[in-house]
Symmetry: C2
Subunit: 334 residues, 2 copies
């Protein structure tokens, strides 16, 4: 059973220890990302360079590189694909920040705050298209196909989420399905791309894809929790953003399911009421009905399912780090 | 020399005659586009289906199919790639409409008007990613690479255009370069994709790419002209949109270059002044300085350059239609 009170896994120079077996390759990804985000036109260059500063955790490239290293050697195509998945992820963050009207992201101003909505749309499009182009420089269309499919699922998930705005009676199954599309799919894709396209390890490749999927689901639930009970200084972004945009998150969905009709009407009033008082009213209700604990427990379950998928990997340093990741994801909430 | 007073080239059932040699294949493109723009989730489905109704002229698929037919047989991959380029084009239109805050497009409400900005962003992303995925189902990465590169150029052009907002002293060379990136590149890509990847017709393939590039440039200049002197009922969208967003278009760039400093300051006042009076003030100035005629002449020159590129094509019905296209593009302005 994973502990929820693990200490942050930090190594030298503040780098997260789980990235240590792949530190030099992660630096190559960073370099390739920076190279891609350039333009010979000054105005374009200033905007697109900012793209590298967003994101930050580099979870998806780390997943891809760790999987590749766990089963063999890291090749140039892994560096390239790790860069591609991070570019795709960053594109969705940039467009998300417009949807959420967010002003801060990872302790940086968002593009819509520093520039405007138009710049955010165009920077996101630049990232998407440059990422697809980079993927297409590989010999086989396999990665393009997987990345195209995943990215489209991601968009579909975002649209569904928007369609469910304000529907706090959303079922947990629908909620999980939306998370799966908008978050878990790209983590799964990253893990799958760390494995060879063909060969005799297809079952292991499927398990790695599932590892990413469960980890991503766990990650998203934790993110939802952090939006309610995290500290702004830790999360690096404004709290209560999901609630502000009337997104039904797991704690709220659980709370809703515990209430009678009259209580639900009251909760709806709080959720649709003044932003300043929303969290102050909501958090005690969540705690009283065990909804924080419930969501935390679900996150933990997905993290454990993720861990189970790692059986069959050769025992080495990269595998050890993959084993630490689910724990790292859930320890963010206490 | 091309005539600017050609009658609209309409065939049976109101279809444009130049599409006649490829009408059944164009119908296949329409069908594939409609199939791609579906989702099993009702809210997503309603939004993405609307994507097919935008656009309308289908110029890029027509280019691709006519080129393919002019040099040989139309294969399944041509239908697929024609669908891909139209999806990419539609994605940029949907995001453009947010940037321009446009309310009408081809006699339809824009997505931002009917839904909102968020839906426009997500529908555009859905179109981009679904298009890339569709392209990646082909065997070779060649088309993915060409489409990825072109689409990224397109974004770069859009960002440059935004960077030059309000700069009416923009040089004609920069203006043409931006047009080339944001409009001509995708027309060029469509024509190139109508030709085989490899083989003994590389020079002809390059000429076809140039044909699309010149045609696209001509098309964009005519579009700029229509924004100033077109009729809303004909253009199917609001007039004066470029001016409203302080985009320097060719007629304005020419006018600017004809004025002394004091006159330029006056012009700037008009351009930055109340929207209601802008066109009424501007159009007589443009006419007085020959700026409308100048832009029309430039459009005509690019159309003629496009026509010149068609030499070397086998003489057949598709080639004849390609020969009519430059004329069709410029006859939109009289």
């Amino acid at each position: 059973v994973l502990s929820l009170i693990a200490e942050p896994l930090r190594g030298k120079q503040g780098r997260l220890a789980y990235a240590e077996p792949i530190q030099s390759q992660l630096a190559e990804v960073e370099k390739m990302f920076a190279q891609q985000m350039r333009s010979k036109f000054p105005y374009v260059d200033e905007l697109v360079r900012y793209g590298c500063l967003l994101g930050g955790k580099r979870l998806r490239p780390i997943l891809l590189l760790l999987v590749a290293k766990a089963v063999g050697k890291i090749h140039h195509r892994h560096i390239l694909l790790a860069t591609v998945v991070e570019m795709i992820h960053t594109a969705t963050l940039v467009h998300d920040d417009v949807l959420d009207m967010a002003t801060m992201r990872r302790h940086c101003e968002t593009v819509n705050e520093r520039w405007d909505t138009e710049s955010s749309i165009l920077l996101g499009d630049f990232l998407f298209t440059r990422a697809f182009h980079l993927a297409s420089t590989l010999e086989s269309t396999w990665a393009c196909r997987l990345i195209g499919e995943t990215t489209n699922q991601l968009c579909e998930g975002e649209i569904r989420q928007k369609g469910n705005q304000g529907d706090f009676g959303l079922s947990e199954a629908d909620y999980l399905q939306i998370n799966d599309a908008k978050t878990a799919s790209l983590c799964s894709c990253a893990c799958r791309l760390g494995m060879p396209e063909k060969g005799d390890q297809q079952k292991l490749a499927d398990r790695m894809a599932s590892f990413g999927r469960y980890l991503g689901q766990s990650f998203q639930i934790v993110d939802d929790l952090l939006d309610v009970i995290g500290h702004e200084s830790v999360a690096g972004k404004s709290l209560g953003t999901d609630l502000q945009h009337q997104k039904a998150t797991l704690p709220v969905i659980h709370l809703w399911s515990q209430l009678n009709h009259k209580q639900q009407q009251l909760l709806e009033k709080v959720l649709r009421g003044p932003a300043a008082e929303r969290l102050a009213h909501l958090v005690p209700m969540l705690r009283r009905h065990g909804s924080i604990e419930y969501a935390r427990q679900r996150a933990l379950e997905f993290a454990e399912k993720a861990s189970d998928c790692l059986q069959g990997l050769p025992q080495n340093e990269a595998t050890e780090m993959l084993q630490l990741l689910p724990e790292f994801v859930v320890h963010r909430v206490r």
